[in-house]
Symmetry: C2
């Protein structure tokens, strides 16, 4: 049976939401895996007391320290060895857990994962990706979304290779199409880094490591021309956060528009309500919680990174994602492919 | 009276739309300025023949060559000296025109503007910006959006300074707030280039050249936290094109949603039509044609760059933008401020 370590203290709504998410995951899956919940006893135990934990495959582990959103990633791991973050990753390192899940400080989790777990053989830099809705069926995956701000061409190529492996084994997409995000389609476009990345991606394509479709542009992301969009962490992080702000923006526009139409008598209250609810449903593809979180690709272990805003549903889905990563042996496949290079 | 040179051959719908736009601008403004329309006589003259050009303050100038979307920017200017693009810019250089307007190959227009007109004193690299809608009143301006893919810190600072001057004199915003686009708010975030740009922007702020509010992130763009968003051309170009694709994406989601609601009987045809039209109105802030185009900031002359998709209305508005740039003496102000450095 798999054992998944969960950071009780990570996320804007922790530990309440994390406790709820863990309980839901175990109930819904009929205790399919074991969960070790790690956090401050004085905060977590009273929350656990509200549930029938005796029926759950759940262990609690006390960790006195907490890594907060204000902690500096690079120093948090050394300064807070007794935090739920570091303890959880150490359980993975010691093979006492198969995966670790947190919705806390993303930068700190990445730094700690790298420090405690190390890299898979052949990996230059681990990376983190994000999902994006698209017009076509399926999802667009953008990599990197903030783990690596300055990237060399070979980093970009490895991001594509690792995400291709995840898509292939984790999502069942045999040949996910990879596009290089650039200012134009021609291979002569962009910075020297992008031109060189283009050449290396073509090489990787000829070796069957990626399915490279060439340069793509900003307007291709939502259209879904590529399943994997490769860019540096500054571009990816900006696009990700920009995308996340669209529902709020569209919602604000709708509110204004509905008010104007109500005042002018073009619509009645019922139509306004119907339109509002239709909108909410419509923007559901932007729901980042469906998957909960993403694996930090390239580290020698499974560390699932969640959004700070994570609800209990997101936490639950992150636990399932952790299980999925173990079962599909994604890391073994990454090590095999990248070690060849 | 001002003289504005217009490239008849630039844009996806040229020369038809350009001729229409020029005629509209002159009619609407009661011949407030003179227009020199430049293009291939065999294509443009028959279109002009459909209008009462005798009543318009319009001159036609033949240029046998055309710079197409496929021409490589760096070589087009030398290879096609007899194009409407190069001829139009040469009219500006020779002071026979006060401004030049085109909706053609943007890269070629920028290269040709730089080559023919040169830079204003003190300008390291000219730049191009774009408008963005926002929740708050007004517009967000992103700079650079593709003219400069690799940027040094001092380039980013100058982009902010030039756009601040444009906002101040051209748009009447005395102290437009400038944000540096980054992966986090803290000044320690991002690449070395961004950290150094942060320091230089603080210096520029202390000299009153910009009103720097610090780092901003992708989700701040539509919220409108900053009037000026500074980034390199790869990030800006990607965000711009991504943003332009939102209406189509939202439209596709709406179409699906309306169909489902119609099938399930939750709405009737009338409500569906009303909702559709409400949507179109709602997404009007994404209408890029309202302003037509933007000035290429930092060149020693006025070169207005338009979207390839430009309609006659966009062309008309670009002509007004050219007039505005001359009248507000934006270039003189840029030269004054940047020459100090």
């Amino acid at each position: 049976m798999l054992t998944i370590a969960v950071d009780a203290m990570g996320g804007d709504h922790a530990p309440e939401c994390v406790v709820e998410g863990v309980v839901k995951a175990l109930q819904e899956s009929s205790n399919r895996f074991e969960i070790i919940l790690i956090g401050q006893a004085e905060k977590v135990e009273p929350l656990l007391a509200a549930h029938d934990t005796a029926s759950l495959n759940l262990r609690f582990m006390h960790a006195p320290e907490v890594v907060t959103m204000d902690d500096i990633p690079a120093t948090a791991v050394k300064a807070k060895q007794d935090s739920s973050l570091v303890r959880g990753l150490q359980l993975c390192k010691a093979k006492q857990a198969d995966a670790f899940v947190s919705a806390g400080n993303t930068g700190a989790q990445m730094a700690a994962s790298l420090f405690v777990l190390g890299r898979l053989p052949g990996v230059l830099r681990p990376t983190i990706y994000a999902y994006f809705p698209r017009i076509q069926e399926g999802l667009t995956n953008i990599v990197d979304v903030g783990a690596n701000v300055d990237c060399k061409p070979e980093n970009l190529v490895q991001f594509a290779e690792m995400l291709t492996i995840y898509q292939r084994y984790g999502a069942g997409i045999e040949k996910p199409m990879t596009g290089l995000l650039n200012i134009g389609e021609e291979e002569t476009k962009g910075s020297e880094t992008l031109k060189q990345a283009y050449r290396l991606l073509k090489e990787a394509d000829s070796k069957g490591k990626v399915n490279f479709i060439g340069n793509i542009e900003g307007h291709d992301i939502l259209k879904g021309h590529a399943t994997i969009v490769v860019c540096d962490g500054l571009v990816g992080n900006t696009i990700l956060k920009f995308g996340e702000s669209i529902p709020e923006f569209i919602g604000a526009l709708l509110k204004q528009s509905l008010e104007q139409h109500l005042v002018s008598g073009q619509i009645d209250q019922n139509t306004a309500k119907l339109t509002s609810s239709m909108f909410k449903g419509m923007l559901e593809p932007f729901d980042v919680e469906k998957f909960g979180g993403v694996p930090f690709l390239g580290v020698d272990g499974i560390s699932i990174v969640g959004h700070g805003r994570s609800s209990s549903r997101a936490i639950k889905n992150m636990i399932y994602m952790a299980e999925h990563m173990v079962e599909k042996k994604v890391n073994q496949h990454i090590a095999e492919v990248l070690a060849e290079e």
